[in-house]
Symmetry: C2
């Protein structure tokens, strides 16, 4: 899909980010801006703006909140990279690798503070609740790493909190600030939630299949970290005997060799786990599209439909 058509919105988002993250001490503000400066799709603020427009609101109604959501997202990336010991993000050294762990912790905290300085007072509770859910989801994700088995249900609950809650908040806030009806707001929240679920499952697939350059981090790092992605869960469930044992062994140790990672990917493929995940992601996308089907037609609604399809089609 062609994201260039959103260039005006992206420019407004970036201008607002630059004004917001301008302060002293310079080193702290540099660290908080660093990841935003090296890429990323701004899908969350874009969804917030489009949700606002799809119920008849203007971009300006939701712009500050859209930016606040991107700041919250960036804050979680910085802290997650510290916790997961990820040294690369978006193809560059992560914030704690560049500025040290202490300044990285603070840069995340600063972004979080700035988000609440910036957002519309009407959506503070929505954003604060989503932020608490992100923390709960990340704790679940980390606790899964130390477990041999995780159920699909537990995984879905984890990504609902860790990833989908903020995307849901983005579309819900957009609809609320755009003056949507109670029903319109609920529908757009449901759209965001399902998009978020599909987005994370697709991310798990890309973490295994994409090439390193596009991914911006080492392929298979989820396997090394023993992440219980839906692919891993399904593969363990479907494989039998020696293959199953071998996969469990690779997932439950750290510092895997290249050969072990390649073997895990082949086992994922053999088990049809990847196919299962693709289908699951598509189901969530269909639910997202269905949620907003009855909204009055508009350009923004069309864009939301297109973005839904993009989520499962995107390369990275």
């Amino acid at each position: 899909m062609d994201f260039n058509k959103f260039d005006d919105r992206f420019r407004m988002i970036h201008e607002k980010i630059n004004v917001t993250l301008n302060g002293e001490p310079k080193r702290l503000y540099d660290a908080s801006r660093y990841l935003i400066g090296v890429g990323g799709k701004r899908i969350r603020p874009l969804l917030c703006l489009l949700a606002c427009e799809s119920v008849g609101g203007k971009i300006e109604d939701a712009l500050e909140t859209a930016v606040a959501i991107e700041l919250i997202h960036t804050f979680t990336l910085i802290h997650d990279d510290i916790m997961d010991r990820d040294e690369l993000r978006r193809g560059v050294p992560s914030v704690h690798k560049t500025y040290g762990e202490s300044t990285a912790i603070l840069a995340g905290d600063l972004l979080f503070s700035k988000a609440f300085e910036l957002c519309d007072p009407k959506v503070v509770k929505i954003l604060a609740e989503a932020s608490a859910e992100i923390c709960e989801g990340q704790e679940m994700d980390m606790s899964f790493e130390n477990r041999t088995y995780v159920t699909e249900r537990e995984y879905l609950e984890m990504i609902r909190k860790k990833t989908a809650a903020l995307i849901r908040a983005a579309t819900k806030c957009g609809a609320l600030l755009g003056g949507g009806t109670r029903e319109g707001i609920d529908k757009l929240a449901e759209y965001g939630l399902n998009i978020g679920m599909a987005f994370q499952i697709r991310d798990d697939i890309l973490g295994v299949l994409a090439d390193e350059e596009k991914l911006g981090k080492p392929v298979g790092s989820d396997i090394v970290e023993g992440k219980k992605s839906l692919i891993a869960i399904k593969a363990i469930e479907k494989l039998e005997g020696g293959e199953r044992e071998r996969l469990l062994e690779i997932l439950n140790k750290r510092e895997n060799t290249r050969d072990e990672i390649d073997l895990a990917v082949r086992l994922f493929e053999n088990s049809s786990a990847i196919r299962y995940c693709r289908r699951k992601a598509i189901q969530f996308v269909e639910m997202a599209k269905k949620a907003i089907k009855e909204l009055p037609d508009s350009d923004a609604k069309e864009d939301l439909m297109e973005i839904a399809d993009f989520v499962v089609e995107r390369g990275v």
Copy 2:
């Protein structure tokens, strides 16, 4: 001073904290409640409630915001201990020593989220701005550790952000939620700011002079970490020749011996730096008391006056 007279308020604060920090995953919520469970004076929420009452408001008007402020304070303690590598807090192992660093980072983030879920929407901007200032102040404090000289002016700016901003926010929010006039709110903000300055300077003195049991952490840890406290700044300024060289040497290396710490304390005393800091703290307390002098008389106003004096008299 006798804090027992505030027992009813402390009970209300604790009940609200317990309801707020009750959730899953249990380990994450346990970590977020841990420091609150092992002590601390709750001086910030108390000041918030008293500020509210001093302008004619009821405790209930400010209770949720008072608790939110304690959550923000606790969040900063948890993250600061990670950054400063402090292993003890309030006489027990710090959160990251007990739950690991990842869960400690998340526990802080969760407390921050819960604070904004809980606080009155009218004070979100005040709390968010104070939180951003705390981050800026902590970054300044860390950057000072790597510098040989810091001026008194720089130090005062740092503690204004790191410590006084949140205490100022506590009394300002209390006055606002209690229905104070514009002038009343400003006066109570000024009271909080000055109390906060005195509080931090007193803390620096106690970090050098108090005994370990009362302090809840090793005496002289500020010296080992090379913290540029006002005592250190003044001592460097006032000492000459060999004594000055010796003190700079101790402050600028890590892993000091017990003898070196004791020598630094003696040099602080010889230089009259401790006396200077005591006087400075008293000046801030006088400014705090002066700020609220013209408020209508009330029990709450009396309590605020007493607490101001307590700040410079307290043992720990």
